[in-house]
Symmetry: C2
Subunit: 136 residues, 2 copies
């Protein structure tokens, strides 16, 4: 006997993913789920754990700056069925590269910002020797 798959209401999915109920509906509307989410007799969405898992990965993609359109591209590939795995891989690799580039970029910014912080630290530590020295 198969184990009963516990259908999840949208609120439960929201709680599990940190997304708002509104956002989850928006995601469905945008075609960001890997399958059509089924509805129960009264029209309510019935999610499964796999949908939650996907949303969690989705969240990482979004947090790391992948636009909705990028996620949709990936979803479309998955929905198209097996055979396009190299395309999916390419898409993920591209995003990985973008994230790495973004991290590098942030490190560069950090250098500049930290230099500024260090300058101010020196200035403030030296007490009000100000006047001769006006940092911005």
């Amino acid at each position: 006997m198969a184990e009963k798959t516990n259908g999840l209401a949208i609120g439960a999915v929201a709680a599990a993913t940190g997304l708002s109920v509104h956002a989850i509906r928006f995601f469905e509307q945008e075609g960001l789920f890997l399958r059509d989410i089924p509805r129960n007799a009264s029209g309510r969405r019935v999610f499964e754990q796999q949908d939650v898992d996907w949303l969690l990965l989705c969240n990482r993609l979004r947090e790391s700056g992948m636009p909705i359109a990028g996620i949709r591209s990936f979803v479309e590939l998955v929905r198209a069925g097996p055979g396009n795995e190299p395309d999916r891989l390419a898409l993920l690799r591209e995003h990985e590269a973008r994230v790495r580039a973004r991290i590098d970029d942030l490190h560069d910014c950090l250098d500049v910002i930290h230099a500024k912080v260090a300058t101010y630290e020196r200035h403030v530590a030296d007490g009000t020797a100000a006047g001769l020295w006006s940092p911005r």
Copy 2:
């Protein structure tokens, strides 16, 4: 005799900073310059190198996610004159911390994404042994 300070037109500043002319006007409107930008006889903005320098730092702050409002706060402190350096330092430190946190966050995302990439790489390398194995 003092060296003539070469006033820069907005277009030159745009070229030097990578910002659009529109964006620079917008910045001025939002009060993001450390001083009021003077105008020449016919009303055109006359920038100096110091303004460009500030914009370059500004760019780093923006690129690293500081909102306009945050930059404005800093500007207001600088414009208020000496004496509030500890506040400026606090502001910069906070931002530095946020950037570090963001980098950490991106690293977390990267782990997840790279794991996905690695999985697909294995799958694709193994040829079409698909069917038994359906990654998403």
